[in-house]
Symmetry: C2
Amino acid sequence: MKRNESFKKLSEDDLSYFKSVLAPHSITQDEEDLEAFNTDWLRKYKGQSKLVLKPSSTEQVSKILKYCNDNKLAVVPQGGNTGLVGGSVPVFDEIIISMSNMSSIRKFDNVSGALVLPDGTILDNLSTLRKDNTGYDLKQIFVGSEGTLGIVTGVSFLAPKKSKAVNVALLGLNSYDHVQAAFKRSKEELSEVLSAFEFWDQDALKLVKDHLAAGANDPLQSTYPFYVLIETSGSNKDHDDEKLNNFLERLLTDNITQDGVVAQDTTQLRNLWAIREGIPVACLHDGAVYKYDISIPVPVIYQAVEELRKRLLDRGVLGEGKLFTSVIGYGHIGDGNLHLTLAAKEFCEEATDLIEPYIFEWTAKHAGSISAEHGLGICKNNFLSYSKSSSMIQLMKRFKQLLDPNGIMNPYKFLPDN
Amino acid sequence: MKRNESFKKLSEDDLSYFKSVLAPHSITQDEEDLEAFNTDWLRKYKGQSKLVLKPSSTEQVSKILKYCNDNKLAVVPQGGNTGLVGGSVPVFDEIIISMSNMSSIRKFDNVSGALVLPDGTILDNLSTLRKDNTGYDLKQIFVGSEGTLGIVTGVSFLAPKKSKAVNVALLGLNSYDHVQAAFKRSKEELSEVLSAFEFWDQDALKLVKDHLAAGANDPLQSTYPFYVLIETSGSNKDHDDEKLNNFLERLLTDNITQDGVVAQDTTQLRNLWAIREGIPVACLHDGAVYKYDISIPVPVIYQAVEELRKRLLDRGVLGEGKLFTSVIGYGHIGDGNLHLTLAAKEFCEEATDLIEPYIFEWTAKHAGSISAEHGLGICKNNFLSYSKSSSMIQLMKRFKQLLDPNGIMNPYKFLPDN
């Protein structure tokens, strides 16, 4: 990939302007300090930005964007830099606009907000009304646009009351069919108190046991091919516990689950969640992680893991000391979201070519989406056609052109190259 | 308002083309048959269309729109024609594209679908995935666009399982403050089983009692200034009934409600809902209805009714035999949606001028939206600036221009005139 030479390179004049808008501590130029902003969480993508700006008000964001647009300076908006698709780090020398100084809560219960467009226009579209049917719902185009249309400087959201009663059960199951059966039953029997249904496979648990203290939290007597964590949240602990215990008993009786425990106190509840939350952390241990965050119909979710595993075993590249050390599957059954994850020694072209575009083709063939919740970034922008038709992509490009005619917002990403 | 003369008038050639695309029974030209398509549900708006087309496939919709766009024939997409803001009937001689032949269920559980643009492009953006984070979420711009950007020929939606247990309680309360207190308590104590919280005032109940059989369903001993209907939906009837009965008892003890009943069987449950559902029907009885569907912060919801009522009483135009016969308030507290409704003898300029723009100014002053769920249509398009900033409206116009450059889709509506 080559730098787009129509973008201006940073000059002393540009710096003088930014210094007139921001306080000195809101401008970072030090090479060592820049490192963290140029590198993504997975340590897979690295940019070469020479400048981080940290505005602290919507007006400052507006001034910076207007100047960059007028001068064709490319920018990358960056939030927590926890993205997994290289969307929040620069590719070349784009200026990083860090939102780290804009994390204050403006008003409790409801937080008001605004959008900003590349030409500096400020759009206030985030009222605290739950219902508003006037005009096109423009904010929706910005949600999930990964900083390619503008910068969101504030959001309003509804914070539901914390539930009075929360409980968790862990199940051990013999097959993915049993996982599906348990899911169906949980929707029927736990319905309004069901707040989470997570699954993982035994290879995922093995990684946690091998590398993390949370591995010792597994309360089950044996190992099983699959695990399910079910959480309930409700207003009456007695009612909820009765529902969860009855549910587990019926699953055991009907041989849907082989073993299961219901947390007896808050500590045990936290320990069970720690197993699930340890999985992505444990994957990092072997050096490099290839994460595929795909959305597919529930019945074929685990087939994706099995077929990819077979593909790599057949080629002799999966196992201890091999290119890939594990292929694991875990995710949120309720919304059809699989985190298909490969632990590997390192990032290399050979490894990538063994998985891509194979996994995107597999996903498209099963009517899935190549990105369920992590976005496209630079990792998947050229694979968008596996999930969206060419007329959809053309229309997206026209929207991008309309809102960001100079293309300065987060370039090289999100939409496919021409 | 004047017809936009840049739109072509219907000719014999156009009819020949439509006859080549549609079967004879899918084309309506008979004056008497046209009447129903030209008139809205409230009998407030009336168009002069000479042609209704009823396509039965996405391809037919695409062909019709491409032809109309190429020939600058203005169109009005029409669904069930149940709109309340004149959005689904023509203003002049626009061709009506009725979707009545496209109501089939394509696939149970999930229904797939497509968007169509005015130039005939078909966009398939309605997958059955619950999570899909690839590209701009274009379908969101079409949701609530009232047929001004394209025609939606199919939708996918999630149909939740019907709850095993449903119950309803009716409360009588002394003030709107008590209504708010009951709402807060219901969210805390009924939380996960709370599925509806509706309120109405005594004038609304009076209309139902005066005009409908459902008026006899009121089970309370006295009349109260306010009524609340609470519905619970859950998986365990014993648990839910225990929660609802305990909740009602505590409200009575704490003097938040003066009286209340919990339905004892399905018949009583249906009878209580029939009171609420009778309100909009009962309003039609006096001749004309002015409906304002506004969204405002919950604490000031009822103030809107009181201040409008006072305004009309001060002017001597509210009461039996007067211009307005009642001003009532009812709605969904949970999402801040008030249906502020005036029963009147007839639609006339004098009556309209007494309410508008007063009520829109009042709503804007209280940070509300002038249309919570009914849309803008031709009724409110020129009042959009009360709810959206001029930069938002400018951007909406640019989106409209991008997708419908000839402006043939549902003209004269939705966006403000220039």
